[in-house]
């Protein structure tokens, strides 16, 4: 379990983090979402003990990373945006080097296993300097998994990848979480890419945590007054639902601004008695719309 309590970080003039607190349960996949410069990377560095916090505390499975960095780093695998790979060495030599530094036993077998998982066999003997961004990212991921960490920190792992590359990374995140029960914190500035893998989200903005929870929890929290777009063929037109104040788009389409989620079944029941309802969908109810609304709300703070 990872516990972050009131972490703040000041770099000379710049306040990178302000009073950030959250808990990450063991075996979960958490998305750390925020624009560039919102403090995600600094937070990951602090959680690993690579950077010290100005105030606050972190515990990783009960250990304080700033006091026990080596023990914490031995149980964590961290992929930062700078993959940390040596470009003058081949992919395989990079893995060999890090396996020795991590003290991995029987590292040849482990490297073969990871090269296969990340489809690197064909390129493993080529110098990393000749790799594409996607290949470097895959090799970087293989590097941080060498010592079989129980916690994985992935900082923008999909950055610079093509759609196939993104799908591969997401597939591997899912697999590591399901099969090896890894606790994973994955940061990104693109929420939509992570929605398929995350159990929970932490939204960051200007060094602050602005929201936290599962998709359902966040949606329920913000969706107090849902907007519903309805496509229907009604005998008497939209006057049949006049008490719900429809914004009429066309003869068969209207938008309803409701006061609560409870009004949705009431409205739909009423409409189905007056004609045929073909489609009803919530507008702005997806996590991404809510995320942008939250960001907008904190923009001027």
């Amino acid at each position: 379990m990872i516990e972050v309590r009131s972490i703040s970080k000041q770099f000379k003039e710049h306040q990178a983090l302000r009073d950030v607190s959250f808990t990450i349960e063991q075996g979960s996949v958490t998305g750390l979402i925020g624009p560039n410069g919102s403090g995600k990377t600094t937070l990951i560095r602090i959680m690993n003990g690579v950077l010290g916090a100005t105030s606050g505390s972190v515990t990783i499975n009960g250990l304080d990373p700033s006091a026990h960095a080596e023990k914490v780093l031995a149980m964590c695998g961290t992929l930062t945006e700078q993959s940390g790979l040596y470009e003058n060495m081949s992919g395989r030599d990079n893995l060999m080097f890090f396996a020795e530094v991590f003290g991995v036993q029987q590292h040849t077998a482990r490297i073969d296993e990871l090269a296969e998982l990340f489809e690197l066999q064909e390129y493993q003997h080529r110098k990393v300097g000749t790799y594409s961004t996607g290949m470097k990212k895959r090799l970087g991921l293989a590097r941080v998994l060498l010592h079989r960490p129980s916690i994985l920190f992935l900082d923008e792992p999909t950055n610079g990848l093509d759609p196939d590359g993104i799908q591969m990374v997401l597939r591997i995140i899912r697999r590591l979480n399901r099969e090896e029960k890894m606790t994973i914190l994955v940061s990104s500035h693109v929420l939509s890419q992570l929605s398929a893998v995350c159990d929970r989200y932490i939204f960051m903005e200007k060094g602050r945590k602005v929201e936290e929870g599962s998709e359902q929890e966040i949606v329920n929290r913000y969706l107090t007054a849902p907007r519903l777009e309805v496509e229907a063929a009604l005998t008497d037109g939209w006057s049949a639902a006049a008490e719900f104040n429809p914004e009429i788009i066309s003869t068969d389409k209207a938008i309803f601004q409701l006061q609560s989620r409870e009004e949705i079944p009431m409205l739909l029941r009423q409409l189905t008695t007056k004609g045929q309802v073909y489609q009803a969908r919530m507008i702005g109810s997806d996590l991404e719309s809510i995320y942008f609304a939250i960001r907008e709300a904190h923009h001027y703070e």
Partner: protein, 277 residues
Amino acid sequence: MNNRQAIKALVRKDIRAITASIQLWLPMLIVPLIVGVIMPALLIWMASRVELRSIGNLGFLLDSLDLLSSSGQIPELASMPTDNHRIIYYLALYMFAPLFLIIPVMASSILTANSFAGEKERKTLEGLLFTPISMDTLFKGKVLAALIPSIMLSWITFLIYGIIANILMYPMFGAIMFPNWNWIILVLWVVPSCSLMVILLNVLISAKVRGFQEAYQLGGLVVIPLLALIAGQASGMLLISPVLLLLIGAALLLISLVLLRLVALWNSRQQLAESQI
């Protein structure tokens, strides 16, 4: 965590990086070749074939040699048959000795600047900081990765220089003249301690700066005391002797101990990480 395995891995990786980069190994071969082989060999060869007294500006050197001989600092000079013998003996066994120290100083500076500041510049240092190796292991690996090639390069140059000097001097003196105690102490005691001191100084500098060039320029300042030693030797004012060399080596080791303490004090994982952000 097997520290020895990690240190070996770090040393192997850094040495491989040196051999893979022509910008690194070429100057490291050229300087020893010029300072340690070509220049001394050429001077000794010329000296063995030209009447040196006829060269006007060598007068000051002969005066110095007379002084060194009469004061008993190099008494064997007095028994030599010609000025050429005296000059060649002095050049081969005394004059080139401090010059020779340029080799470990230069190699250690380049290697350390590349290894530490270079890692920062190439954005690979953070990857190392995220591994569970202790900072102690990291520094040991980095220091050894510079120390081993630096000492090896000096020793190989010393061997080549020794062979050439003896080949050129044997016909004149009829005996193997090289090395004397000065050279043996220099190579086995001063070269390693000098390399260590320069490496630790460069580690300190590299940890504070962002790039290879900056580290290398600042590290170059260490050549200044060396130039003083060379000038002292050339003018005959400060003649190296086994005792002086033992003292220099000890002083360098003492400075290294202080630097080592500073390296440990100023370079925690968090300080290193913050210095490159």
